[in-house]
């Protein structure tokens, strides 16, 4: 995470709250929808669409959380299919499978911590741009 306080303008209280909520809502959807990896993505999409006409700061953070969930959705979808395969479709329990689960868990954990951290910081009006996802968000969200 980088780029604290380097946003184009200082967001007001309402903007900070909405931006922070986008992270918190996705986390709530992730926890309630576990282990199905779809709900957090759907929540992020809905929140993004709901704030499509919002201010730049709000749209930017809604998009950052959406892109992060798109990436983890792909990873988690593979995990769910692979686990179902092992449990019900005769897939072998291999070291490759366990390694993938651990790697996916690490990435999910990093995203989880980053989401909480960013939710707290954006609530205070600070701008947090994540590595990889931040530059991608810049491409998709225009002022």
């Amino acid at each position: 995470m980088n780029g604290k306080n380097n946003f184009l303008y200082a967001p007001n209280e309402d903007e900070s709250e909405k931006a922070s909520n986008s992270y918190i809502l996705s986390l709530i959807a992730l926890i309630t929808g576990f282990p199905i990896p779809l709900f957090n993505l759907v929540a992020a999409i809905i929140f993004y669409l709901g704030n499509k006409k919002g201010t730049y700061f709000v749209r930017w953070h809604c998009m950052q959380v959406l892109l992060a969930h798109v990436i983890t959705f792909v990873i988690n979808l593979i995990v769910v299919v692979w686990v179902l395969g092992v449990l019900f479709w005769n897939f072998n329990l291999t070291n490759n499978f366990i390694a993938f689960i651990i790697t996916a868990a690490v990435f999910n954990l990093i995203e989880f911590i980053a989401t909480i951290y960013t939710a707290i910081k954006t609530r205070k009006g600070l701008h947090i741009s994540w590595l990889v996802i931040g530059p991608l968000t810049d491409l998709f969200v225009k002022e």
Binding site: I75, N90, L93, T94, N95, N96, I98, F100, L131, L136
Partner: protein
């Protein structure tokens, strides 16, 4: 390439890199998963065997057991399969059926022994079931039909007798998939051939089963879990043709007649 896409590519490479590095660790051995799986399989096999024992009498004849054991030993010895790891149980039941349980156990019904005209035919069935044991087909089938969580419940001792009976029903009367059957037949031909027993006998048994099934449909359980016997017999003959070997009768005829007599008497009881 734009900086953002370059970073995304690097992230994906990082993911794959960590995954591949971690996969070098032998988690299966470290977490003793194989040991746990073997223990679960052992317990599951025992639970199912106990359930079969509740509904069937085990055949109480040393002569028959020794004869069948010898047959199994010949097959195991010729194919480098640890003989002691495979158990065979014979139950008094007029169904023409044989099947495998988890924990390398083969169940034979006296109905099948009665139906076999020659010891080589019976040897074919044992070789086929031995192949299912070696390919771990029964656990694959149970996982597919019942699910791992239910199997773990069963081995944990929390299952009722009803579930045990259901599992026996699945094992004894539902089919392996076509590929598993074909692979087991192929291995059976190899096992028989290596042991000096003509695989043609096994094909003969399957041909006869497919002809007789219309007369006595209820007794031919083995056909319900081994469908398309005629096609399989033809396939076995094809495998057989590839083997340039002359076979002689391997098993004692007088002992076989004694076995048939004892089995026949068990039906009269």
């Amino acid at each position: 390439m734009h900086k953002a896409y370059l970073q995304l590519t690097l992230l994906m490479l990082l993911f794959v890199g960590i995954w591949q590095l971690l996969s070098k660790i032998n988690f299966i051995e470290f977490l003793q998963i194989e040991k746990l799986t073997n223990e679960s399989e052992k317990k599951l096999g025992q639970v199912i065997l106990d359930s079969i024992r509740k509904d069937n009498h085990e055949l109480n004849s040393d002569s028959v057991c020794i004869y069948v054991e010898k047959m199994k030993s010949e097959l195991c010895k010729a194919n480098n399969i640890p003989d002691s790891s495979i158990s065979i149980y014979i139950f008094e039941n007029d169904n023409v059926n044989a099947f495998t349980l988890p924990n390398s156990t083969i169940i034979l019904y006296t109905g099948l022994i009665e139906y076999c005209k020659t010891p080589e035919e019976l040897c074919g069935v044992i070789a086929h079931e031995l192949a299912h044991v070696e390919h771990h087909d029964v656990m694959k089938k149970l996982t597919r039909e019942v699910g791992s969580s239910m199997l773990l419940t069963l081995t944990g001792g929390a299952a009722s007798g009803g579930i045990g009976k259901e599992i026996v029903k699945i094992i004894s009367s539902t089919a392996f998939d076509r590929k598993q059957e074909s692979e087991a037949d192929k291995s059976a031909v190899k096992y028989m051939s290596n042991a000096g027993v003509d695989p043609e006998n096994f094909a003969n048994l399957l041909f006869r089963l497919s002809k007789d099934k219309n007369n006595l449909p209820k007794q031919f359980e083995w056909l319900s879990n081994h469908p398309n016997s005629k096609d399989r017999a033809e396939e076995i003959l094809k495998f057989r043709q590839k083997i340039n070997k002359k076979f002689e009768n391997k098993f004692s005829e007088s002992s076989w007649l004694k076995v048939k007599k004892i089995v026949g008497e068990s039906f009269e009881k």
